[in-house]
């Protein structure tokens, strides 16, 4: 299966051409959103970054590195406050790519200085690292199995036959947690089967295709789903290929969905 993708410096071939404004701490999310809105980039309301301890320190660090190195990303501006647990400069070193810039609010004259500098650097990175059209040889599709899927075996078989790589996440704690896991597994596109009592949701860097269940909640908001409950494996495949080739998914059109960093230890 050939997909027309977008090649990014150091990140391989993706299916989207996103710039990421990455707040390393909750304190820099507002600054990040202002920069992202100004330049048309992706950002998210990061909830943590400070007061984290134990395995969460390396866990969130690695999660950020995975986000910044995702193949759907062309370049990254890391915005730090300066005194947080996850130190932006170390994160920046670990991303270790020319197409990343690192900013510190406490060293940039405050909010306005950081926003102005962030906008300028984001534009410079976009100009310097444009995505170029390229064939994607191996499409990786992430399966969010938040509910039981009747024709899962057929989907797996058909995707294998088409030489599409499948990665899976099976937690039953809401799709957002599964999306984070699938992002780290470098899924280009996510196929989401949300819990019957949960709405369809998205993930800012990755097109999410949602397939409705049969329950009343999903049927009441059926317009927010990409595919109906009775979709066959072949119909799902067609949709995945269209979205991978650039058609926008419902979650992309509505911009819904937060990026939820995995946590397992309370803050101090």
């Amino acid at each position: 299966m050939k997909i027309q993708g977008i090649k990014h410096a150091d990140r391989g071939v993706g299916v989207r051409d996103h710039q990421l404004i990455l707040p390393s701490v909750v304190c820099s999310t507002h600054v990040s959103r202002r920069i992202a809105t100004e330049v048309g980039a992706i950002t998210f309301a990061h909830q943590n970054g400070c007061g984290i301890i134990g395995i969460d320190v390396s866990g969130i660090d690695n999660f950020f590195i995975d986000l910044a190195n995702h193949p759907n990303v062309n370049s990254v501006v890391v915005t730090a406050l300066g005194c947080e647990t996850i130190q932006g400069n170390e994160l920046n070193d670990k991303i270790a790519q020319d197409s990343t810039h690192y900013l510190v609010i406490q060293e940039s004259g405050g909010v306005e200085g950081t926003v102005a500098s962030g906008v300028a650097h984001a534009r410079e990175l976009s100009a310097k690292f444009p995505g170029t059209v390229a064939d994607l040889d191996l499409l990786t599709v992430g399966l969010d199995l938040s509910r039981d899927v009747a024709n899962l075996a057929e989907i797996r078989a058909l995707f294998a036959k088409e030489n599409i790589s499948l990665v899976e996440a099976t937690a039953r704690s809401g799709s957002a947690a599964n999306f984070s896991s699938l992002m780290s597994q470098k899924a280009h596109v996510i196929l989401s089967f949300p819990d019957e009592n949960q709405p369809p949701t998205g993930f800012p860097l990755i097109p999410v295709i949602s397939i409705a269940g049969s329950g009343a909640l999903h049927q009441a908001m059926i317009g927010e789903f990409d595919l109906a409950r009775s979709s066959s494996a072949a119909e799902i495949l067609d949709c995945v290929i269209a979205i991978a080739n650039g058609k926008k998914s419902k979650s992309e059109l509505s911009n819904n969905g937060e990026i939820v960093a995995p946590r397992s230890v309370r803050s101090v």
């Binding site: 301890i53 005194c83 909010v111 709405p199 927010e224 309370r266």
Partner: protein, 384 residues
């Protein structure tokens, strides 16, 4: 200077008259932001809860329900999916206060676009009502002051924190409520705070919440005494956890402690309280917002832009160098105490006056800059 505010039907007072846009599911956070953009003057929160009955559901429900009815909120536009678990949160909120709610559900609206349009209409209509409400003279007991510090440095304990303590003491003496938080940041100073408790039982509670928090961190295999002060604090010149804690506790002045509150719990009567919160600035401010805090002072050595969605948050710099370098973050510089140009009492009086002016409507730097963070604090299975 006199105090003015907005009287709420449950007897609480607000110093702001916000129309709050509150999503009850993370997938509605974007709609909340869209409404905030479409209707200038309203304030939205966003969060990462997925509407599941997770281990931390009780804590999440308490935080979310509490902020929906913070006294600074005139009316709340609630964006919901349309599930039973959301109804539990609304019932909890309504047990605290009769803040008017307009509830828009995705289940009824049918699409995110329709939900955003309905929410925007409700927000615009609520804003008209909010603007029509007039301030009236408020008693000192109207003040529920939140005390916070973040990005502390070696000056915190000798400039901004004790100066804030002077202001806090004056409010408490006049019948207001003041709340100190950040449990792990009084570790090493808790025995001194316990001596100031109204009863031996309250004193023991202060000792116990600190011990419980430290034990829960030890249980994870981490020695808090090694993790604090943070690297940022050390760069700011702090040498030990005890030095940081003794300085942090100074925010609460010298008044007697009336009681100890669990995270996000509302204080039952006026007085000085200790609340069991994380030191993480936004987890603490969100807990304060849920507890009904209506004004906060945030001392900082390194400088931070953050504010609360519903609480006007005054930033006090601990040192002149930072106050000069980051002017758009700082409302008042207490570094003058270390410079030798003002006394502790003088700066304490300036903080007191600024709290009154902000309560009466003057905008803080965080408000002018649009900083209104919110998040949900979780224990992640810690049962202690």
């Amino acid at each position: 200077m006199s105090l003015t505010g907005y009287k709420r039907s449950n007897g609480e007072w607000g110093f702001r008259n916000h129309v709050l846009i509150a999503p009850l599911h993370q997938m509605l956070s974007q709609s909340a932001r869209a409404i905030e953009e479409a209707v200038p003057g309203v304030v939205a929160i966003s969060h990462d809860w997925s509407g599941m009955r997770e281990k931390d559901f009780d804590r999440i429900a308490k935080t979310l329900s509490g902020i929906l009815v913070n006294p600074n909120v005139f009316q709340t536009v609630i964006l919901a999916i349309g599930t039973d678990i959301e109804s539990e949160i609304l019932s909890l909120a309504q047990a605290h206060a009769k803040t008017p709610f307009t509830i828009v559900t995705l289940k009824d609206a049918g699409s995110l676009q329709a939900l955003t349009e309905l929410g925007s209409k409700a927000a615009a209509s609520a804003l008209t009502g909010a603007k029509a409400l007039k301030r009236e003279a408020a008693p000192w007991s109207a003040v529920v002051l939140g005390l916070e510090c973040g990005g502390s440095d070696a000056y915190s304990g000798i400039t901004a924190n004790p100066a804030l303590g002077v202001a806090s003491d004056k409010f408490v003496a006049d019948g207001a409520t003041s709340i100190l938080g950040e449990t792990m940041e009084i570790l090493g100073a808790e025995h001194l705070l316990a001596l100031r408790a109204i009863t031996p039982e309250v004193g023991q509670q202060i000792i116990d919440v600190v011990a419980r928090y430290e034990k829960s961190i030890n249980y994870e295999g981490i020695d808090i005494r090694g993790a604090q002060p943070s690297r940022g604090n050390i760069e700011g010149g702090l040498s030990t956890l005890e030095e940081k804690s003794l300085g942090a506790a100074k925010k609460a002045g010298n008044a007697q402690f009336t009681g100890v509150l669990d995270y996000a719990d509302r204080p039952p009567v006026a007085g000085l309280y200790f609340m069991d919160t994380p030191g993480h600035d936004i987890e603490q401010l969100s807990g304060f917002a849920a507890a009904g805090v209506n004004i906060a002072v945030f001392t900082t050595g390194r400088g931070t832009p953050t504010g609360s969605a519903v609480i006007p948050t005054i930033k006090v710099a601990t040192n002149t160098e930072m106050a000069d370098a980051l002017p758009d973050l700082i409302d008042l510089n207490a570094g003058t105490i270390a410079d030798g140009t003002q006394t502790l009492e003088e700066v304490g009086a300036l903080i007191y006056d600024l709290i009154l002016r902000v309560a009466n409507g003057e905008q803080t730097r965080a408000e002018i800059g649009g900083h209104h963070e919110f998040n949900l604090s979780r224990l992640y299975g810690s049962t202690l």
